[in-house]
Symmetry: C2
Subunit: 356 residues, 2 copies
């Protein structure tokens, strides 16, 4: 099949947090989007309806989105989706992503993330779809050896959890795949810390159970779902002793995928290239809590707790390669990240399962 | 199921070179052996018969060996084998092993080696079989940073092929598995260069196509199947300029697995422990060719060719940890390695498919 002129993109894990937000600028940029998700971590819709995040996206873009409830481990069903569509490219978001959980059930993480990716790449190869954007993570860098973290920072050293290792392994598999077949062109996006929500307030991050990440936890405290947030360590060598991270607005991240896709289609290149997606600025835990309190008008209660094993003092990226190579840079401020999170959390205090 | 007193061992890939030879000392040590293999790389038997290497083993041990033609990627069939037997332990030999081929079809290597291992570990976990011997490789060390290579030599750095990376990834998955569940006890055996054959001459290495490794190639030249062997580089900093490797007799290696199994059953330990299996001595390519010529009485013709990318000058292990921890050491000499290879090659010039 000739897919050189297709503008049809497959999003694996497209019902998840990053995937669902990415649909919007893709459609606004003229792409046709097909979403595939096993809904292991997404809010299902009513009988016969698309999952809730996809329905919300459909409201925002004003058109239907094709959705398949398919697991990447189900080779035959996956292959059938490729038979039906003429994909120009795949954006591979699907994967488990809770660092703590990956230490408890590592085999599940490796099965879903690594075996799932291998299946996907095999099916892509069989259908001659050889352009891929892969959702990797800044965790592949391990504890930063220098700051800001550039793409040439060592990867794979002393990775302390199955999540980070699974992303590192998949990067390695992609590298070998590209070395073996010069028709492949893969952009590996190493996300720093995606936060925030669509500015409409009707689409956002919907963690199941206790949030693993700072921003959704802070939002749940602000809205009254949880009494208090633990801050793990206030004796780091940072501006106020709490950990510093590179938070990135989800809509900036979503737009980064569009830039990557355009590069894949327009550049006559091949091979695998890794790119940091972050703002290049770090904010401390207390700075985030403080900004969220200001924006929401709620006092966010916190308690200082012991450091967590595996946490580092600071992590933020050198974002210059994304700018020079993709022509992309993050534009939204920490204030907007907090405002948009708060709008979503206020409208949907129980996430997508909130009765409207 | 209580498997604490079982002496029944599952050998994945048990019809392969290392697997088939290992059955013999296992049975001699009182173990009951069940072999599982997908026969992707082994000589099939006649209709209704066990594969040829297993039949040969049965002749040598004088009793039948239970065999299943099952692929590790077939979760349900694998699970059924575990339902039928009360395994104390698994020795996981199964995997693709041709370094060069892994650069050409990496996805196949990752699928078979990594996804296959993840499936196996999941089925083991579900059946409460948590003792494992894993066939790893000295290739996880990459280019040696010092010699002899101890187990604390860095692993995973600058691995140049999918074979080595797949073994390194599986080691990483095993490490996480053991960290997540303290009931697991895994011995990772990092093989150096297994060569030779059973001294009977009726069981040996049966490579399909052009041999990837030195010894079977030399043997095929000696027996007249091939005219000449290429020696890749004679300007290395070694005794005679040709590459030096740590060759290990297959029966020594087989016995190393018995020692590992006994350790798993008798030691009250847990976690994952990596052990080098080698002699601790290096021999050059020309030393091997010379010894083979002496032993076989055949002049083995060779030609000096360019160095191959990815080859290092010398690689040999520090074998002391295997001795102290397992009570195992290699006993057989290079002369015995060549003699036994030659006996096998003379009796079976076309390998197992030789018409007898």
């Amino acid at each position: 099949m000739d897919n050189s002129k297709s503008k049809c993109v497959l999003l694996t894990g497209g019902a998840g947090y990053v995937g669902s937000h990415t649909i919007i600028p893709l459609i606004e940029s003229g792409y046709e989007v097909v979403v595939l998700d096993n809904l292991s971590n997404a809010c299902k819709g009513d009988e016969g309806q698309n999952p809730v995040p996809i329905s919300q996206v459909e409201k925002l873009v004003g058109k239907p989105v094709t959705f398949y409830n398919v697991d990447l481990l189900d080779y035959d069903s996956l292959s059938k989706v490729f038979d039906k569509h003429n994909f120009c490219c795949v954006i591979h978001f699907a994967g488990l992503k809770a660092v703590g959980e990956s230490c408890i059930i590592p085999l599940t993480y490796y099965r879903v993330n690594v075996s799932g990716s291998i299946n996907l790449f095999q099916v892509m190869k069989e259908h001659n779809v050889k352009k891929l954007v892969f959702s990797s993570s800044s965790t592949v860098y391990g504890e930063p050896q220098f700051l800001p973290i550039t793409e040439s920072h060592p990867v794979g050293q002393n990775l302390l959890n199955g999540y980070a290792k699974s992303k590192y392994y998949i990067e390695g598999i992609i590298q070998d795949l590209c070395n073996s077949d010069k028709e492949w062109f893969v952009i590996i996006l190493r996300y720093f810390n995606p936060v925030g929500a669509h500015p409409s307030g009707i689409l956002g991050e919907d963690p199941t159970g206790i949030p693993n990440n700072l921003m959704p936890y802070v939002a749940q405290v602000a809205v009254g779902n949880r009494p208090c947030i633990n801050v793990f360590g206030n004796d780091y060598n940072t501006v106020d002793g709490t950990g510093v991270r590179d938070y990135l607005h989800i809509m900036d991240l979503a737009e980064g995928h569009v830039s990557a896709l355009q590069k894949l289609q327009n550049a006559d290149e091949n091979g695998a290239i890794a790119i940091n997606l972050g703002t290049g600025n770090g904010y401390s835990v207390l700075q985030v809590i403080d900004m969220f309190s200001q924006v929401s008008g709620q006092k966010v209660k916190y308690a200082i707790a012991d450091r967590r094993a595996g946490d580092c003092a600071s992590s933020y990226c050198d974002a210059s390669f994304a700018k020079s190579y993709l022509g992309w840079e993050a534009k939204r401020t920490l204030k907007e990240m907090c405002e948009d999170t708060w709008r979503w959390q206020s409208l949907y205090p129980q996430g997508f399962s909130t009765k409207k």
